[in-house]
């Protein structure tokens, strides 16, 4: 048996939900970023898998999108972590429960 597209999709769904879990449940800001990174990576697995199983794999669209997505994820991580540091400097905490400035 070789892995099928369905298996890859379920795997990436699992990765996505693990990332979601980290983003939803952990109290520490860096964990939220870790979760977001995992979710992005899961989406990339989908892109590449769809490319590989598409009827026209000579056109590498899925791969190109995945590459762009990785570049954007890098930018996201840099800005996100910079935000964590800035927030930490300001509030002396990275616990998101204590960061409720969104409240009007």
């Amino acid at each position: 048996m070789t892995p099928t597209l369905t298996i890859f999709l379920i795997l990436s769904a699992a990765l996505f939900c693990i990332g979601l879990l980290a983003a939803l449940s952990r109290r520490h800001a860096i964990f939220i970023l870790i979760g977001i990174d995992l979710m992005l990576a899961a989406a990339n697995v989908n892109f590449v898998a769809f490319w590989r199983f598409s009827p026209e794999p000579a056109q590498p669209t899925g791969v190109i999108v995945a590459i762009f997505s990785i570049a954007i994820a890098a930018a996201e991580a840099a800005v996100g972590l910079a935000l964590v540091i800035a927030v930490y400097r300001h509030y002396r905490t990275t616990n998101v429960d204590k960061l409720n400035q969104l409240k009007g």
């Binding site: 449940s25 969104l102 409240k103």
Partner: protein, 657 residues
Amino acid sequence: MSSWIVTYLWLIPAVPLAASLVILMLANSRRTASAALAIFGQVVALTMAVAAFLPTLQTPGYRAFHNFTWFTFGEQTLRIGWVIDPLAAAMLVMITLVGLCIFVFSIGYMAKDKNFTRFFAYLSFFSAAMLGVVIANSLLLLFVCWELVGLASYLLIGFWIHKPSAAAAAKKAFITTRIGDIGFFLGILWLYGRSGTLLFYDHGNGCLENAGLLLVGASATFIALLIFCGAAGKSGQFPLHVWLPDAMEGPTPVSALIHAATMVAAGVFLVARVYPLFSLGAIDGVTPSLTVVVWIGVVTALMAALIALAQADIKRILAYSTVSQLGLMMVSLGVGGVAAGIMHLLAHGFFKALLFLGSGSVIHGCHEEQDIRNMGGLRRLMPVTFLTYAIGMMTLSGVPLFFSGAWTKEEILHATAHWPKSSVPYYLMLAGVVLTALYMTRQMIYVFFGDKRAASEHAHESPRVMTMPLIVLAVCAIVFSIALTPAWPWLHGYLSGEPAHFEIGQLIQPMLFLSLALVAGGIGLGVLFYRKAGATDPLAQAQPAIFRFLENKMWLDEFYARTVLAFAHFAARFSDVMDRYFWDSLVRALAGVGQLFGILSSHFDERGINSGVDGATTGARGLGRFIAARHSGQIQTYLRAAGVGALALLILYAWLA
């Protein structure tokens, strides 16, 4: 039986590496365990090195390699591998043997250091990386290990990180060698572009074999020079030598291991390894790249020997002496005496490690004093150290007959004398021999003879664990010479792949008398000159201007600060000014235009639209107050709500479909 050895050659660096990783995971208090592990790893590596050494003895010019595909990248395949030949085998044995002595010595020297375990982890790591450089059969693998060696030396030079000078020295060493490595890397890329392979030997297709060299063609000169940049950086050749003396900030065993015996030898080893690239298209044994190597080597050797004359720090003198000896080896490689250069490299590994460990013993005995002007009369207080140090000193100066350094130095002089291009390097090398004898005599007299001075009042002999390695290395430095004499040039034959014959008549050569005269002259001059040396150096009294010039290392550091660094500073300041005034004013102008629009539209807003909206807001405010109560400001609550919402949409879709 030889084929399986080359397949498992990778174990030689892998065992010290594994030891290093295990030690890193040990707690700081597990001192005995960490030292035992490091030494065990080194002993295993030494055993395997000897096992790999034995088959190379059977056939002259023996060479075995094992290549495999590292990874496939689209259409290209990157292959790496390892090789064992006389050059690699001799280096393996020397590195593991000297390394073992230094590891044992470190137990005593670092006994009181609180980061004892970390030190051994770094030492093991360094040893692993260095062994990797030696066995690599691919320029890429060699470069990877080369950089790991650089990292290890950075960690070890800056081991006493709490000392600002040590941190600065580590940084300087790392950056200076990196300048050379950029050239090296460009050379690798160029070579790959031309020949399509980075393997040294690959059944005739490697980049050092005929087919590969044919592809390289005329660009070999530039590739060789770029690779030489890397070698010059690691081996402290002029003008990249500035890091080596500063690197003496590290613990003394580190100076011995890295900056005497092994790492600095990597550059010489590299040139010897890719020698076919240097000598490609040679006429009469002379190519442009080799000529550059010769002159750089000559300048380095002479300059460092002169500077060593005026230094006061015991380790710095040895550091400059190392720079000088490395220059000598480069000259030897450049004039075509590859075997002679490598022989000197091996001999130098033993006796310079001996000298450094001896200086470590002196420093330890004098309670961390490094200034030779404060020592004196130590020969009675530290007899073992004195005797072994004297052997090291005589080997370095090249006292004939019994000491290995003398024979290798003669080989080099022989090779240099026959260089067809010019005889100037030969005469300069002769001057270098005199200078070497002179500065070593100066050091001996200051440290071991004369009256006791401040630091030697309470000096004591070092413990056995420190003196034993000294004795082993001293014995090595003498016994090694058996394989070097012209009467039985075994090592020369081994390295160049020709069988050696025993002929006692060859022992005495005309060159021997010349070098005897030169060494005797150097030592005699030293004794005469420094016999009554006091707090001020006799040279400083006789020629204060020259002394100051040499004492300040020919002002090269200052010269770099004025030129290279000043340029970097200027570029930075220029960009800053551009940023601040030019770009900034541009942005400000744009912002002004935006502001103007803002003011205009705000006026329009206030008068025209505002009043109509007022009514709508009162309604919205009531709704807002209701929704605001649901908003806790907790982003995770919001996210969770979004998740539930997405799920609800999905269920809705499923229901409709």
